[in-house]
C-alpha cells in the first residue's frame, strides 16, 4: 500500500494501522493526559496535540516526534482520561508504526532500548538482564561502552554482591526449552499482523 494514498487521511491510516488507533477521534482536547504524564516536561508534543495533529493530517510530524518515546507505561493518562481513551496503548502503537516506517528520531534512546529488549527476549524466550545492560552501554561503540560501564560500576557491583546480577549470564543464561516453536510462533504472529496492518 502506498503512503500517498494515506496522506490526505492520516486519521484513517492511524485507525487501520495503529493498535487502538480507532480511539483517536474520541479525544476532546482537555489535556488531562498532558498534565498527568510523569515525563510531561520532556514531550515535544503532548498526547492531545498528537491526536489533533493526526486529525490535521500531519503524518511526518507525528511519526517523527519524540513524544511517544517518552511514555513510561505508567497508565496515568488512561485512568484519568474522561473519554477513556487507551492513550498509553495508542502511544505504543504510534511508536511502533514510526519504527516500521523508519521515522524515529535518530539515536532515540528509548527506541534503541526497546528494540534491544525485544531482540533480547526473542533470542531465548526470556530476558537476559546482563546482556540487555551491556547492549545498552555499548550501543554507541566500544569506548563509549567502557565509559558507560565504568560509570555504572558501583551499581553493577552492588547487584552482583546481592546476587541479583550474574556475570555468568554472558554465557547464555536462562531460556525456554521450546525455542523453535517459540520462534515460529512469533514469526507467524508478525506475518499476520504485517499483512492485516499493511506494515510489510
Amino acid at each position: 500500500m502506498s503512503i500517498e494514498k494515506y496522506t490526505r487521511s492520516f486519521l484513517k491510516e492511524v485507525e487501520e494501522r495503529v493498535e487502538e488507533g480507532h480511539w483517536v477521534k474520541m479525544c476532546m482536547q482537555c489535556g488531562v493526559c498532558a498534565g498527568s504524564c510523569p515525563l510531561g516536561a520532556h514531550w515535544e508534543h503532548t498526547p492531545q496535540k498528537i491526536f489533533m495533529m493526526i486529525r490535521a493530517g500531519k503524518r511526518e510530524e507525528v511519526l517523527s516526534s519524540d513524544s511517544m518515546w517518552m511514555c513510561t507505561s505508567c497508565y496515568q493518562c488512561i485512568v484519568r482520561c474522561p473519554r477513556k481513551l487507551p492513550i498509553t496503548h495508542i502511544m505504543h502503537g504510534l511508536a511502533y508504526l514510526a519504527k516500521r516506517e523508519g521515522l524515529v528520531p535518530k539515536n532515540q534512546p528509548t527506541a534503541q532500548f526497546g528494540q534491544l529488549f525485544w531482540d533480547n527476549l526473542v533470542k531465548t524466550g526470556r530476558v537476559n538482564e546482563l546482556k540487555l545492560s551491556l547492549g545498552m552501554y555499548f550501543k554507541d561503540g566500544f569506548s563509549q561502552g567502557i565509559k558507560n560501564a565504568m560509570a555504572m560500576q558501583s551499581v553493577g557491583l552492588g547487584m552482583m554482591k546481592a546476587k541479583r546480577l550474574n556475570p555468568m549470564e554472558i554465557m547464555g543464561g536462562h531460556g525456554i526449552k521450546d525455542k523453535s516453536g517459540f520462534h515460529a510462533m512469533l514469526k507467524k504472529a508478525r506475518e499476520l499482523e504485517d499483512s492485516r496492518r499493511k506494515l510489510a
Binding site: 493498535e19 510523569p38 515525563l39 520532556h42 517518552m70 513510561t72 507505561s73 505508567c74 497508565y75 496515568q76 488512561i78 485512568v79 498509553t88 505504543h92 502503537g93 511508536a95 511502533y96 519504527k99 516500521r100 534512546p109 528509548t110 527506541a111 532500548f113 526497546g114 529488549f117 525485544w118 531482540d119 527476549l121 524466550g125 526470556r126 530476558v127 538482564e129 545492560s133 545498552m136 551499581v155 552492588g158 547487584m159 554482591k161 546481592a162 546476587k163 541479583r164 546480577l165 550474574n166 549470564e169 543464561g173 536462562h174 525456554i176 521450546d178 516453536g181 517459540f182 515460529a184 510462533m185 512469533l186 514469526k187 507467524k188 504472529a189 508478525r190 499476520l192 499482523e193 492485516r196
Partner: protein, 300 residues
C-alpha cells in the same frame, strides 16, 4: 496438599541471579507459611513487559502472553494464573482482555500458537496479582492472625507505583490513593505512613535505563517524600519499582547532592519476617541497602 493452588507465572526478573530473585525467594517462603501452592507454568516465556511495544508490535506481544496462558490451561487446568511481577500481571491481563474483545485477534493468535503446537481456549479467568490472592482470597484479618513477630516500631512508606495500580488496579481501591499496601503493613504490625504522597508516582520504568536523567527526578521525589514522612524503609509490590528506587540511590545522590540510603523491600519480605521466617527466608541478603530493622526482628 496446600489449601490453595494457583498456576504461577514468576517472570524473567525473578530468576536466579536476576534483579528480583529476592522477590521470588521471599514469595516462596511467604506462600509456604500461608499454605498456598504456586505451581509454575512449565516453560513460560517473557511477557514482553511494557517496553516490548517498540520491537514487537501488538500481535507478537499478545502471542507471548497467550503462549503462557495456553501452557497454563494445559498443565495447570482449572487454576488461576498468578503473577508477582507488575508487568507480567499487566501484560497477561491486558492480552486476555484484547483477546476477549476481538475475534480477529483471537483467531490470529491461535494461528500463531499453532506453530508452537499450542491452542488458547480462553477458559480461565483473568490473571491475578499475588497481592489479590493475599487480600481477597486470604484477607487482612487472616493474614494478621498468623503474625508471630509483629513489625513493631518500623515506619513504612508504601510505594505502590504504577502497574499494580493502573490501569486495572485492585478491586475497591482508588487509582490516586490505594490503601491496600498500608493495610498489609498494618496487618503485619508495622506502622504505615498513610499520607505518603508519592505512593503512585512513576519510577520511570524502563526509561530509568534509557533516559536516566529524566527518570532519576522521579526516583528522587519518591525517596525524598519517604524521608520527609519519617519512613524507615520503603515497601513495594513491583520488581521494577524496587530495583529502580533501590539501585539508583547512589546516582540520585550524585545528581542531586543528597545522602539517600533507604532500604526498599517487598511486601513478601515483610510477611515472611512477621510470620517468623529467617533473614535468609525473606531474602534480606538480596538487599543492596540492607533492611537492618527487619533483619533485627528476623534474628530475634
Amino acid at each position: 496438599m496446600a489449601k490453595k493452588q494457583y498456576s504461577f507465572y514468576p517472570g524473567c526478573s525473578s530468576q536466579s541471579g536476576a534483579s528480583s530473585s529476592n522477590y521470588l525467594t521471599s514469595t516462596q517462603s511467604m506462600v509456604n507459611l500461608l499454605d498456598v501452592a504456586l505451581n509454575e507454568i512449565p516453560d513460560w516465556n517473557c511477557c514482553g513487559a511494557s517496553i516490548g511495544y517498540a520491537g514487537g508490535g501488538e500481535l507478537p506481544r499478545v502471542a507471548l502472553s497467550a503462549r503462557n496462558l495456553a501452557l497454563s490451561e494445559q498443565h495447570n487446568p482449572g487454576q488461576e494464573v498468578v503473577a508477582t511481577c507488575a508487568a507480567c500481571w499487566l501484560a497477561t491481563r491486558e492480552a486476555k482482555e484484547r483477546l476477549d474483545h476481538s475475534a480477529t485477534l483471537l483467531a490470529e493468535t491461535n494461528e500463531a500458537l499453532k506453530e508452537a503446537g499450542l491452542v488458547f481456549k480462553n477458559e480461565a479467568p483473568p490473571a491475578r496479582h499475588m497481592v489479590e490472592v493475599l487480600i481477597e482470597d486470604i484477607g487482612y484479618e487472616t493474614l494478621k492472625s498468623g503474625v508471630k513477630k509483629p513489625l513493631e516500631g518500623i515506619k513504612f512508606a508504601g510505594y505502590v507505583g504504577c502497574q499494580t495500580n493502573r490501569p486495572f488496579g485492585i478491586d475497591g481501591e482508588s487509582f490516586e490513593n490505594p490503601m491496600y499496601l498500608d493495610r498489609m503493613v498494618e496487618s503485619m504490625g508495622g506502622e504505615a505512613i498513610t499520607n505518603y504522597d508519592q505512593k503512585v508516582t512513576c519510577c520511570g520504568g524502563a526509561l530509568a535505563f534509557s533516559e536516566p536523567e529524566k527518570s532519576q527526578k522521579q526516583i528522587h521525589d519518591i525517596i525524598e517524600s519517604a524521608y520527609d514522612h519519617g519512613a524507615d524503609m520503603i515497601v513495594t509490590p513491583c520488581p521494577l519499582c524496587q530495583a529502580n528506587v533501590e539501585i539508583y540511590q547512589g546516582e540520585v545522590n550524585k545528581r542531586y547532592g543528597k545522602k539517600f540510603n533507604i532500604p526498599v523491600t517487598y511486601y513478601s519480605q515483610l510477611i515472611t519476617v512477621a510470620y517468623g521466617g529467617s533473614s535468609k527466608d525473606a531474602a534480606l541478603d538480596g538487599q543492596i541497602i540492607r533492611a537492618t530493622r527487619l533483619e533485627e526482628i528476623a534474628n530475634k
